[in-house]
């Protein structure tokens, strides 16, 4: 009996240690990358550059927080990139419509609208995968086509540009502003991630998300409304997309049919590089953020240094993702 107890104690310790290693792996990769960057270019470690990189990783990072929910619950969402384009287009068109004359009110209404549309798109994805029982990969591939197609149609293939320059000036600080020297997008990243982490780790809903991703049958027997939990992960994803749009629109003041192409793959890559497994049942919000930074930094290092031909950048990026994953595996196996 005492023997058994001792065994259990040891086991628990062991599992804590390798939990740490696994969660820490993306951060180790990030640090290694920072070191590499510092060697490759003198400008890399400048505050300006780092802030730039973090700031522009905002879109992927925020979307990837939503993707962490979807993936932890055993789903997948390939439609986020085109959802960005769709939501942003509608938001700008609403602002261009000028139905509200007070600028601040108009801006607030437009932002609320974006959030609503994002949630609605997420709801659509959620219902198709859960109630329609279509594999998420295919369902969201379909909605990806739909959102992208609608955007192309709305923009007649061209760009949709925020016309009122007053509105643009009013909205401008939402991307370009800073609070105490910290750019707004970075603050939004941290806030979104913190909220996401709170929901995923501390609330009952978050627990259910993990349970559904871990074993759907068990979750169902435990009285968890599996479909509702799944659908909500897609809604959360939609909300995150909307938040990203709220930052995207003030940046360029315009969208086009190509906005957000391939962002879905980047978001998923960020999630996986951050240590969340695609099979579901594990979710690491901070790892995801770290993954998004890693992706952005890889591109930044490649541009700043002049190591590689411009033709080869895609190849190097692919190789680095694979290497990052190998490093992670290696760290995990060492326990």
């Amino acid at each position: 009996m005492t023997d058994l107890a001792a065994g259990a104690g040891k086991k628990a310790q062991r599992s804590w240690k390798d939990m740490d290693l696994r969660a820490v792996a993306p951060f180790v990769a990030l640090v290694l990358l920072l070191v590499l960057g510092a060697f490759s270019s003198p400008n890399f470690l400048s505050v300006d550059n780092l802030l730039n990189v973090l700031t522009r990783s905002a879109f992927i990072a925020i979307i990837a927080v939503g993707a962490t929910f979807v993936i932890s619950a055993g789903g997948l969402d390939l439609s986020v990139g085109s959802m960005v384009a769709f939501v942003a287009s509608l938001m700008i068109m609403f602002m261009n419509s000028g139905v509200i004359s007070s600028l601040p009110l108009m801006l607030i209404a437009a932002m609320a609208l974006a959030i609503l549309i994002g949630a609605a798109c997420g709801l659509a994805n959620g219902l198709i995968t859960t109630v329609g029982r279509i594999e998420p990969f295919i369902a969201t591939l379909g909605t990806m086509g739909i959102f992208r197609g609608l955007t192309t149609w709305l923009s007649q293939g061209g760009a949709i540009t925020l016309r009122s320059s007053d509105l643009q000036n009013l909205y401008h600080p939402a991307y370009f502003g800073a609070v105490l020297g910290v750019p707004v997008p970075i603050i939004v990243i941290v806030a979104t991630a913190a909220l996401g982490a709170f929901v995923l780790y501390r609330t009952r809903y978050g627990r259910h998300v993990i349970a559904v991703g871990s074993n759907e049958d068990v979750a169902r027997y435990s009285g968890i409304p599996v479909n509702r939990v799944r659908t909500w992960t897609y809604i959360i994803q939609g909300l995150c997309v909307a938040v990203a749009v709220l930052l995207y629109v003030p940046r360029l003041g315009s969208t086009s049919a190509t906005t957000g192409t391939l962002w879905e793959l980047q978001a998923i890559t960020a999630v996986v590089v951050g240590g969340t497994a695609l099979r579901g049942g594990v979710g690491r919000i901070w790892g995801t953020i770290c993954g998004a930074f890693i992706l952005e930094i890889v591109g930044n290092i490649m541009l700043l240094s002049s190591f590689v031909s411009e033709y080869l950048i895609g190849a190097i990026q692919g190789a680095i993702i694979i290497i990052a994953m190998l490093v992670q595996r290696f760290l995990m196996r060492r326990n």
Binding site: M1, D3, L4, A5, G7, A8, G9, K11, A12, S15, W16, R202, T203, R204, R207, H208, I210, A211, G213, S214, N215, D217, V218, A219, Y221, S222, G223, I224, G281, V282
Partner: protein, 514 residues
């Protein structure tokens, strides 16, 4: 822990009348009528596939009956699902393990009914209560450990703790002790006794008849979906139960074995270690010998043997008939004539989503080739033969392996591995969840293997079984081989002493358990 207020009434808490269940055209339960009373333990016994689990699933709202009524306190009810049944105070501990592997023990215990403070889940409180709930079952499991890391026995305990956590009036245990060793079994039986005494109606399924004898007040016997008898437990001895179940006398469970003289070695393992699980193990298996492996849960028996056959990274010397061999993977050891039958037949033994034929021939497809093509006709013939030889009760040939009852899955797994015609067979928990009639068949089969000059290793947590069929028993504790018993010394007492490291007086107490 049994928080439900107990109403004391005279009538049964729960009743079923004229209950039938069909899966498609196959009727697996026919016209069952039973009543369950508060403060009594009602055992249901029957052969594998008799329909026990199906009946329990109906009682707990997992399945809907095809015909018949369920009454609670005399009122007819229809469950919308397991959650509904649970809300009415009926909890079920499943035969198979239903836990989310990525969540911790505490998170699993409280899944779907988390304690929270405001918006936030109260992990500390849940961990504390989980720890206590598990300790009440006589186990010591850290509530913060992820369930995926627990052994099957530990998961079983967690599952029991989970069921008992909600207020309940009827508690159903479907083979809770199948993967437990005597120590945990003892603790669990005590818990069940407590539950009974607090006025709960307990339904209990087990293939371990002495256990049933010890704990039950009433025993009902199912055979082929029919209720054949209900008797007070006091009127029945285990032998009688066995007869009712199987429909014939099962007087001698273990086959006769004549101790053979010194045998030439079939397998020698020297200084063998499986990092993290077993170290410096040495043992020797003779030709035509049956060697047992005893130990507590977590002793590392499974891992040691998995290491020997090449399923795990390991180092040490393995000799086959005196010649050193190295198995890089399990394919190598199969080719060398060793097969290993996993204790985890659902997770590692059978493809539950595939049909019986595919499962049967999976490991030995080479024997069914006609040129490049698999000869399905021969596969079907082999299946027919295996169904006959191993007495697999399958409703139809096209059934998926996952639709077989637990015991029949074990027989299918046995059949699958025997297709390889091995020289050395390692069977991990051969009779876990197996009915007594089938057990007898399996023991006979193992004995026949040895008789035919094959060598067998049996890993088991049931000491009577090891003593009944083995020539020698190796005992492991905490990853090390701590001793070996044979002949006169092969007693439960002796094994428990070695397995626990306890004094012989303490061990005697344990060994007296049913």
């Amino acid at each position: 822990m049994t928080a439900a207020a107990v109403e004391t009434r005279d009538g049964p808490v729960m009743q079923v009348e004229g209950l039938s269940k069909s899966f498609g055209p196959v009727e697996v339960l026919r016209n069952i009528g039973l009543s369950f009373h508060a403060g009594k333990v009602h055992a249901i016994i029957g052969e594998n596939g008799a329909g026990k689990s199906t009946l329990m699933k109906i009682l707990a709202g997992h399945l809907a009956p095809t015909k018949g009524t369920i009454r609670i306190d005399g009122e007819p009810v229809t469950f919308t699902g397991p959650v509904d049944a649970e809300a009415r105070g009926i909890v079920l501990v499943h035969q198979e393990i239903l836990l989310a592997p990525d969540l911790t023990v505490a998170q699993n215990l409280f899944l779907g009914r988390e304690l929270s403070k405001g918006l936030v889940v109260d992990d500390r409180a849940m961990n504390e209560r989980a720890e206590k709930a598990v300790r009440d079952l006589g186990a010591e499991i850290d509530p913060r450990v992820v369930v995926g890391r627990l052994s099957i026995a530990q998961r079983q305990l967690v599952q029991i703790a989970r069921a008992l956590l909600v207020p309940h009036r009827v508690a159903i245990f479907d083979e809770p002790t199948a993967s437990l060793t005597p120590i945990e079994t003892e603790a669990l039986l005590k818990v069940i006794d407590d539950i009974r005494n607090s006025g709960i109606a307990v339904l209990y399924i087990s293939h371990r008849l002495p256990e049933v004898k010890a704990i039950a007040d009433t025993v009902s016997v199912l055979r082929d979906g029919n209720l054949v008898a209900t008797h007070p437990a006091a009127d029945l001895q285990p032998v009688d139960m066995a007869r009712l179940m199987v429909g014939r006398d099962v007087s001698k469970l273990y086959p006769d074995r004549h101790a053979a003289a010194a045998r030439e070695a079939a397998l020698e393992v020297e200084d063998f270690s499986v990092p993290g699980y077993a170290s410096n193990a040495s043992f020797r298996l003779g030709k035509g010998e049956i060697l047992g492996f005893a130990g507590l849960v977590g002793a590392g028996r499974t891992e040691l043997l998995e290491g020997v056959v090449g399923l795990r990274a390991a180092h040490g010397t393995v000799k086959l008939a005196g010649k050193p061999v190295h198995f890089a993977d399990v394919h190598d050891s199969m080719k060398a004539g060793i097969v290993y039958l996993s204790e985890d037949r659902k997770g590692k033994g059978l493809l539950l989503q595939q049909d019986l034929r595919v499962n049967l021939t999976l490991a030995s497809l080479g024997r069914f080739m006609r040129g490049l093509v698999i000869d399905r006709k021969r596969e079907r013939a082999a299946l027919d033969e295996a169904i006959g030889e191993f007495d697999i009760r399958a409703g139809r040939r096209e059934m998926l392996a996952g639709q077989l009852s637990g015991g029949n899955q074990q027989k299918l797994l046995l059949a699958k591995m025997m297709m390889l015609e091995p020289e050395i067979v390692v069977i991990d928990e051969p009779t876990r969840g197996i009915d007594i009639g089938t057990k007898e068949q399996i023991y006979k089969f193992i004995a026949a293997l040895a008789e035919a000059g094959k060598s067998v290793i049996v890993i088991s947590s049931e000491m009577p079984e090891l003593i009944g069929i083995c020539d020698r028993v190796v005992v492991m504790r905490a990853g090390r081989i701590v001793g070996e018993v044979a002949g006169e010394r092969m007693t439960e007492n002796e094994i428990v002493v070695l397995a626990t490291g306890a004094t012989s007086e303490e061990a005697a107490l344990v060994a007296e358990l049913p």
